[in-house]
Amino acid sequence: MESISFWKKYKNILFLILLIVAVAIWKPHAAIYGLQRGSLYALAGLPLSLTLGIVGIMNLSHGDFLSLGIYIVYMFSVNTRMDPLVSILPVFILLFLLGAGVYKLTVAKVLKSGHLNQLLLTFGISMILLEVMNLIWTSRPRSVYVGYSSSSVTVAGVRFGTYEFLYVAFAIAVLIGLQLFLKKTRLGQASFAVGQNPRGAKIVGINTGFVYLIVFGISVAILGIAAGVMVPRFAIFPSVGSSYTMKSFCLVAMAGLGNLTGILISGIALGVGEAIVQSIPGYAGWSDIVFFGVLIAVIMIRSIRRPSL
């Protein structure tokens, strides 16, 4: 029983490591780039998995909060010359407060009226955020340059960038942090309870409003971490984060609701898949097909095996 569950638990991770090793032998760059970008997808997807997968709040403005975080990092850099990676700390706090505030003012009021109203609400919020950023900073991209962001090393004749390994590190760190939060803290445990049955959660003494607030705040705040690591490598413009909303939703669907480790695995798997296609001359245009094709395949296969409740 024990060994079976161990195998079950780590099966996917083992597969992933095997996949990366295999790809690394075949196309080292695809493996590295895929691992790096995939981790970034996961880093952005993890907080959505927390809000959507665990407590069941639908957030279409996810990516726009990421954009906002990116602009805040930018402002820190412009006004205080703070290194983007250092600014993660204050940005994390600022975004937490912002997320909590937005939650309190709006999301809290539509929790009871279901997913669809959350969808509409956050669509509206997304629009407001996007347009306000556009008004303040215009559509013209900005950037923060730090020397280390394009550093590289050569190992066994393969030259590759080192900066983006930060995505991997941060994604793993956030994953572990979230897992610890969910498994080891009572607030984390309460998140599961609140997600499954808010009324039941109240009955056992959980302050559900507080749990929602914290979880929403944390998920927005984590986007601040993503923003901090992204800024040195990304052009900064209002819709820079937009595409991460759908990507994150895709990851959550692929990993399965509530499966955080699955987000990292799926993110990297999709990243590597994309990178392989991009590395085949003449087929770069098809890389989205890999992304979506794998996604659909995984969802379909899982639906066949889904245990009945």
Partner: protein, 391 residues
Amino acid sequence: ATPIKIGAVLPLGDITGDQAAKAMKLAVAEINAAGGLLGRPVELIVIDDELKPEKGAAAIDKLATVDKVDFFVGGMGSSVHLAQIPVMKRYQKITIWIGAASYLCENAVGPDADWYFHLHPWDYQQGASYGRGWTELSEAYPEIRTDRIFLAYEEGGFGTASHESYVALQRQAQQGEGAWAAIMNDYKGVSFKSAALGGGDYRAMLQQAKAYNPDLFIWAGYDADALPMLQQAKEIGFAPEFFVGAPPGWPAHFGDSPLAEGVTLYGMWAPTINKVSPIAEHFYNAYIEMFKEEPATYFAPLGYTNIYFLAEGIKAAGTIDKAPLIKALEEVEYASPIGEVLRIAPSNVIKHQGFTAQKILQWQGGEQQVIWPLELKTADPMFPFPSWEGR
């Protein structure tokens, strides 16, 4: 007197449309300050197309029927324009367009629309103009070689059109024809997903470019791609002889980045043109004075040109009646802040095409210097592209 009404449709949420609109306002203000046209004041009505085709089309209808404008101006995206063309055909008002580079728009307009003037060069014209540019440059600087050309193009319509026109130009070049006849030997195009559309990882493409080892590396994408592309090129150690970018605009403070030095670009305008063109300098200063911001894209001087070109035509015709005005516009020679004189000539399909060329510029010391056309040159080209070491 009743005003002459000009209706503009632009994407105001985008820096290009926003600044074009501002430049148009500047031009109108200047014209009115000078007493208007034909003794009538000029009125400008600007509508946001939100980059959405159906909104752009509705805007034309509104300008025509509610505001009852006399002329249509403006333009940015090709897809918005494609939706506007049928509507414009309904009104057949004199239309002077500064956006939309896709040849499909020209096909949609058709050869008979004598009321249609298009100022922005078409995609194929841009490709050809670069050929002329590099030919002249390699004559002026014999060390410059452009034998092997690698084009990285964003996988959307904007980039793919560039690729297609290069493919056609290469075919001609192999038969010893066309603008690239003498200078292009081998060509390779690889697409990438633009950061503006959710992409931004160019490394796979750059690896292919590095392996190809081009003389001329050109990327056709958006302003959001500019810096990340350089960073990633540095990361993989890819430094071609010429690193050329062809986005419609550049990021703010791009010149401040150490990676910018020596980057070549295709564009229609740069602030340095002030040094060689008084009208450009006038425009530049007036714009800053009026809006307290710098013109950041070539759509600003283009928008200014858009109004003045029309105004010159009206002045010459002495009327706003369609037939004589079209005739007059065909004859107008307007020295524009873009740097060159605007003259109308036929293009592949339409009768009234304005500019046909972009310029070749280069980032040097944080500024865009003109290196071609040679008569507008503000600096000598820097090449080969400086190595990545130490920046």
